[in-house]
Every structure is written in C-alpha cells, then in structure tokens.
C-alpha cells in the first residue's frame, strides 16, 4: 500500500474524549492524510480543533477511538523511538545544566550517558547555536534559547520524525521570526519529517511544504494546501506575492463564518 513516499498515514481517524459527567467530546472526526518522507507539514487551525490530539496520536501517547495511524507502515499502538517532540513550553529540567538537559532523554531511557552521547549533545548544541552555553543553568537562558535547547533535546535520539506543538507561540514576535528561520536552517542540515502545529498563518506558510487547515469542534481536515514557495526561504520570501496570496487565502478559509 505504501508507495514509498509517506511516513505517517492517518486513515479515517476519530478521537472522542470522555468527560467526567459521562458525556463525550469529539476532538477529531474523519481525519485522513499522509505525511511524506522529510516533508514539513504544518497543521493550522483555531484552538479546540484537536491539533495537539493529532500530535499525541502520532507519538502513541493516546490511541484513536476509531481508524488507524501508521508510522512507517506500522500501526501506532505505543510510543516508539523514531519520534522527537518539542512542546509549546520548553519544559527543561532546572536541576541540570544545558548539556544535562540535552542528554536527559538518554539518561532517562537507559539510566546512563556516555562520553560519546555528550559529544553528540555538544554537536546538537552547536547546531542550534548554543555551543558556548553547555554548562549554563537553564534559567539563565532567554525563552528563545530555552526552546533551542528543547529542540536539541528532541533531536538527541536522532528521530526520523519531529513533532512540534506550537513551539514558538510562547515567544515574543521578534524571537519567533528568528526561531522560524533557525528551524528552517536546522531542518535543512538535519532533514526530518516534521509535523508542525501552529495557529499562526504566516509561520505555517513560511515553514511548510503543505498546510492542513482544520475546522474546530469536531476537528476535521478542511483543506490541504500546497506551498509552492521555493527553498531555501528567507525574509524575502515573506514579501513574495505567492506568500501573501496563500496567507490571505488561508485567512479567508479560517474566517468564512465571520465574513
């Protein structure tokens, strides 16, 4: 069934959550889509459209009520190693320094960290632009730098898939733009299949190969949009006519009910 191109496949996925009072909320309904190898896919939608649920389903942290999710042609039944996650908050561990935070997944999974692991973590810190900060305490870092550490931590086990749950939404606007370009650079140096959840239209257009626009309550795939902008992308990309046309098209899609 796999034509060799897709890495993640959602087939008619439905997700309902039981609530305390016995009723159920449908978070996702009829969700079907593929993500190709080394594709950068952005999921865009208002809050409450089940974006984060998508991410947790791929990570195997929750199982779908109906339908299947497969990763590398294997149905997801539990968490697995090919996946790194970056959350909205950096959630670093204050009792470790920066390097200790990057190596934490290994320490946590296997109980030990070797010198090689540390060398690899240092390479990752160089990749995210934090070479000189290995021994710094994490609360000495700015929000953007903390999120860089979180990205390095997610890359430690060299996952094929990187799941990012609104990773830059807690940052100020300037840092956010800077981090977007940084992510593009990191992604070009370490190609990964990326699922990037966001509620920022320009961010999605700038970063992604394809954008999935979701509807709220229940979350459904409203539209899948190809982003034909050439790579590498830069600040200049954001003033291209295609960029603006796409952004306003998506804005129109999201706000049809208001228009």
């Amino acid at each position: 069934m796999n034509d060799g191109s897709h890495v993640i496949r959602f087939t008619d996925v439905e997700q309902t959550f039981g609530r305390g009072d016995g009723s159920a909320v449908t978070a996702l309904e009829n969700v079907t889509f593929d993500i190709g190898r080394h594709e950068f896919l952005a999921v865009l939608g208002p809050s409450g459209c089940g974006k984060s649920t998508l991410l947790r389903l791929i990570a195997g942290l929750i199982l779908p009520t109906r339908g299947t999710i497969s990763v590398f042609d294997r149905t997801v039944t539990e968490p697995r190693d090919e996946i790194g996650i970056v959350f909205q908050r950096p959630t670093l561990l204050p009792w470790f320094d920066v390097l200790g935070n990057v190596t934490f997944p290994l320490r946590h999974k296997y109980g030990r960290v070797t010198a090689e692991d540390r060398a690899r973590a240092r390479d990752l810190l160089a990749l995210v632009g934090l070479s000189d900060f290995a021994t710094k305490r994490v609360d000495e870092l700015s929000g953007g730098m903390q999120q860089r550490v979180a990205i390095a931590r997610a890359l430690l086990l060299d996952p094929d898939i990187l799941l990012m749950d609104e990773p830059f939404s807690a940052l100020d606007a300037l840092t956010r733009d800077e981090m977007s370009f940084e992510l593009l650079r990191i992604w070009s140096e370490r190609p990964k299949t990326v699922l990037f959840i966001t509620h920022s239209i320009p961010e999605a257009v700038l970063l992604a190969d394809r954008i999935i626009v979701m509807t709220p309550r229940p979350g459904r795939v409203r539209e899948v949009i190809d982003v034909p902008l050439p790579r590498p992308r830069s600040i200049a990309t954001m003033s291209e006519p295609t960029f603006n046309a796409l952004a306003s098209h998506i804005r129109g899609e999201l706000f049809t009910r208001l228009a």
Partner: protein, 294 residues
C-alpha cells in the same frame, strides 16, 4: 548577530550591580552609579531594620513593665527573664535542650522517612490515594494535644511516645506538600517520559521527585518548628526533662521569669532549626530556590 543577541540577553542578570538592585536592567552611566549608592543604602536599611525593630520592642516591653509597675508574676521584664535564665546552670540548660532536641529531631526524621514514600504511594496509585487520604485527614483533624496523654499511657515512659507525638504533628504538611509537588510536574515532561518508554519508576525518580523538591523543602522548613512544638506538647504530658518540662515545672512554682527564659530558648531552638533547614536547601539543591536567594 545571533551570538551578540544572546550575550546581551545573558549579561544583564549576571552583572553584580543588577543583582543588588533586584535584577532590574541598567547600563554603566552616571545615573546607574547614583542608583547603586542608593541601592547600597537601601540594602543596609533592609539589614538593620529588623534587628533594630526587635531591640525597640524589647525596650518598650521593659519600659512598660517598669512604668505601669506590672507584677513580675504577670509579666516579667526582659531583664528579669535574662537574669532568671543566667541563674540556671549551663549543664541544666544543656540537658533540657538536649532532651527536647533529641525528641524533635527523631520525630522529624521519622516524619520525613514516612511522609515522602507515603506521598509517592499516594500519587502512584489511585486506589491508595482514595483509601489512605481520608485516613490521613482524620489523623490530622484529631487534636494531638488531646490524644497525647492516651499515647503516653499506651506507649509507656520512654522517648517512644514523645517521638510518636512529634511525628504525628510533623508528618502531615510534608505529605501534602510532597503530593502537591509530585502532581505539579509539567504534563509535557510526563509525556516526554512516556514517549521514551522510560517506565514509571524512572518517571518518579528522574522527573516527579526532583520537581517536588522545592515543595518538599518548604514543608520541611515549616515542619522544623512543628517538630519543636510536638516535642514540647509531649513533654507537657509526660517527661522528666526537656524544655517543655522545664516551662511546666517553672510555672508550677510561679517562677514566671524562668518559664519565659525557657520559652525564649525554645524560640531560639526553632529558629536555629529553621535556618539549618534553609541552609541545607541552599547547600544541597540551590536550583530549587528563587533566583535572588541562591
């Protein structure tokens, strides 16, 4: 360009001046020197203010007692209290302090050894939490002073009942704080742990327990004073030595100034234990303190 931005962000909290001013940003202009001098004066006011207020209160107490001629069996003057304290031989003080300290510390230690594993159990198992928590609340709701005599009768005349009473008073805040801390762990880290399939033991040891450390230490600090209270309550009920016994003994002979001296020593003991606990936190787990206190 990026590294510049990073070093600019990093240099401001690291500079000693900005620390003195409580972390506000500043340059190296003329204005900042003046502000630094003001900050210096401010910090001396901060340091001297509390002891001066304390001394003033003692003086007011002394003056009021003398001026209104308050009888010493109602409220002795501070000077009379000091005098009464000095009259007691040092060896007697040492024996009383030693007895109270021993009971307080043993009860405290038992409370820590029981509370933290208990909190871990409560967080790990819904069943245990549903079963044990109501019982814990019942124990905590029971006035310890009221059951202390029963405990003494049941457990005999050794240190055991006193340690047990101290434990009963001390353990509950530690359990509650530890549970709160274990549950305050960011959900993302638990998901990270689950995505790594690290197992629940490592989740507890590597993530939840370290995250609970600031909560545990705030409970441990409160509990030092509770431990002293517990030991004194136990000594009120049954003891032949200890500061609680000393106060009871002194009041029964109407030696009020002497009782006050005992009380002052008790307060000092509590303060020292509290301070030692703070120092232990600063020494062992400095990251768990707010930035300004490291």
């Amino acid at each position: 360009m990026r590294s510049q931005a990073i070093s600019a962000v990093n240099s401001s909290p690291a500079s000693p001046e900005s620390n003195l001013r409580g972390g506000s940003t500043g340059g190296h202009s003329q204005g900042s020197r003046i502000r630094t001098r003001e900050a210096w004066r401010q910090s001396w006011a901060d340091r001297l203010g509390p002891p001066l207020a304390f001394v003033a209160l003692i003086c007011a107490w002394e003056a009021a007692c003398r001026f209104f001629a308050i009888p010493s069996f109602l409220l002795p003057t501070p000077s009379a209290i000091v005098e009464a304290g000095i009259k007691i031989p040092l060896s007697q003080w040492a024996a009383n302090i030693g007895a109270t300290l021993r009971v307080a510390l043993m009860g405290y230690a038992v409370a820590i050894l029981v509370s933290i594993p208990l909190a871990v159990a409560l967080v790990s198992s819904r069943f245990l939490s549903r079963t044990l928590y109501p019982m814990l609340v019942i124990v905590q709701s029971t006035p310890i002073v009221a059951i202390a005599p029963i405990i003494v009768v049941t457990m005999g005349a050794s240190d055991l009942p006193r340690v047990f009473i101290t434990f009963l008073i001390t353990f509950f805040p530690i359990v509650v704080s530890t549970v709160t801390g274990l549950l305050a762990t960011p959900e993302e880290l638990i998901e990270l742990s689950r995505s790594l399939r690290a197992g629940r033991v490592r989740e507890m040891l590597h993530i939840r327990l370290p995250f609970a450390v600031p909560f545990i230490f705030s409970a441990l600090k409160i509990s030092t004073t509770l431990a002293v209270i517990g030991a004194v309550v136990a000594e009120f009920v049954a003891a032949e030595h200890g500061l609680g016994f000393f106060i009871m003994f002194s009041t029964s002979f109407f030696k009020i100034a002497q009782a006050f001296a005992g009380l002052a020593v008790l307060v000092a003991l509590s303060l020292v234990l509290f301070r030692l606990c703070s120092l232990a936190q600063w020494w062992l787990v400095p990251w768990s303190l707010p930035k300004g206190q490291r």
